[in-house]
């Protein structure tokens, strides 16, 4: 069993290394031009050569995403709480929210640019718009699916609606909340990058566009690698927090 567990831990790394090797070998074997498809070594070369500007752009994308994500958490939790705690609010707001979620968020960027100008404003807001929905839905679901018997037990004791929500509803929706954070953080990176590609002079999104237009393909790929690494790191962070705060919901998996 222990060996099997270990194998599971290392499997993704092994697959990653194998794919990179295969990629590198294919580039060598078929002598692929770096303008078409750069090899991992060329990308690594770019990463080292442009380490400083890449780091600057990455930092910009990172904090922009975090600000947008923070707004997402606040708005998502508040809206989720409202929707999940009242049937009327649920009926009134849910269809509208679903319709809103169906809109492509990239389409907002030009409008946001008109309102806030080129730069950090549209990026933060795009990150927020794209990532609050899963948080809201998950909080609302956690609150709305209380066992009616448990609610009766508490109501007989004179519990107010707020007591039930705070003592039972919120803790109960925590696993849903953390699960949604993992999804939302990766979406937030998508939002920031899309916005930066359209309306910014800084950030990884801008780097991708400018590297692409200058035919610096290894640099563009380096940008992709960096953003993937940031998104993965944040995903792992939130899944670590999830495991350590709501262990009761993950029994049997550890």
């Amino acid at each position: 069993m222990a060996r099997h567990k270990k194998l599971e831990t290392y499997a993704p790394w092994a697959l990653l290394v194998a794919s990179i090797l295969l990629w590198q070998l294919a580039c060598w074997a078929f002598d692929v031009s770096e303008f078409v498809f750069p090899s991992p070594l060329q990308i690594l070369g770019s990463l080292i050569e442009f380490a400083v500007p890449i780091a600057e752009h990455a930092w910009r994308t990172f904090w922009t995403t975090m600000v947008g994500f923070a707004i997402s958490i606040v708005v998502g939790v508040v809206l989720g709480f409202v929707i999940g705690s009242s049937r009327l609010a649920y009926a009134a707001m849910y269809p509208l929210m679903t319709a809103f979620n169906a809109l492509p968020k990239a389409a907002f960027v030009p409008i946001l640019v008109v309102w806030f100008g080129i730069g950090v404003g549209p990026a933060i807001l795009t990150a927020f718009l794209i990532s609050f929905f899963p948080i809201m839905v998950n909080i609302a679901t956690g609150l709305a699916t209380l066992e009616p018997e448990l609610e009766d037990v508490l109501r007989v004791l004179g519990a107010r609606r707020l007591d039930v929500l705070l003592k039972v509803g919120l803790p109960r929706s925590m696993p849903y909340f953390f699960a949604s954070l993992k999804v939302a953080i990766t979406l937030a990176f998508v939002g920031t990058t899309v916005s930066e590609m359209n309306a910014s002079n800084e950030g990884i999104g801008y780097l991708l566009i400018s590297a692409g237009s200058a035919m610096k393909m290894p640099l563009a790929f380096a940008g992709l690698v960096v953003i993937a690494a940031m998104a993965m790191a944040m995903y792992e962070l939130f899944s670590w927090i999830e495991r350590h705060t709501t262990a009761w919901a993950h029994r049997g998996q550890t």
């Binding site: 018997e149 448990l150 037990v153 508490l154 109501r155 007989v156 004179g158 109960r172």
Partner: protein, 265 residues
Amino acid sequence: MPEAFVDFNQVWLAYDDELLERNEFAVEDITISTGEGEFIAIVGPSGCGKSTFMKLATGLKMPSRGTVRIGGQPVTGPIKIVGMAFQAPTLLPWRTTIDNVLLPLEIVEPYRSQFKKRKDEYRERARRLLATVGLQGYEDKFPWQLSGGMQQRASICRALIHEPRMLLLDEPFGALDAFTREELWNVLRDLRAAQRFNVILVTHDLREAAYLADTVYVMSKRPGRIVTRRDIDLPRPRDLEITYTTQFTDLVHELRSRIGEIRKS
């Protein structure tokens, strides 16, 4: 005659105004009167309005017609002198057993406002209560670390922690295996013998009703009416051996035939 503890006087309930207009009631003309400390069981086919009866007895629902009085007081809203337990233990998975049992004290007055100050005292009380149902040593375990029977014991402790005058049980042992169920019958019997609270037990297990209750009421299928009231005159304290006597099996048989008549009609 001393004042009744649970007093239903010609109680009718329709769940909403529309059903009321169409004269569709969930329960009809319920009249029940029990003495202080009495243990009553309500049996009937499924969907007969037993759970509706529970909601009326706790003040979660107001009758459409008639009056409900509990402990001499007319019921006008949720009454805090009751504790409830259901077929599902509904323990909170993020709380330990003892914290689950303490939950009512965080909500019901007068405990609520003193909870922080007297927490140690309350924890001690919860420990003692858990010990009486055989859960000592499990206080700090989480619900999912307990067996189904243990979870149900904890659930009953949660219903009793605020020392209610009445315990309402809605098919509390329905999901347990036969041996665990009989064990818990005795747990309930002993708890009640020690604390003398009133009990309303809703069940479809006739042996359970006959073994535990002082009085068994049989309800008809929907709309629920009380069709029979049967005093159980078996001596107390009762032991599981009694369930193998002819007196007991005749009693259960008699109740069974009543239910059979209802199901056919």
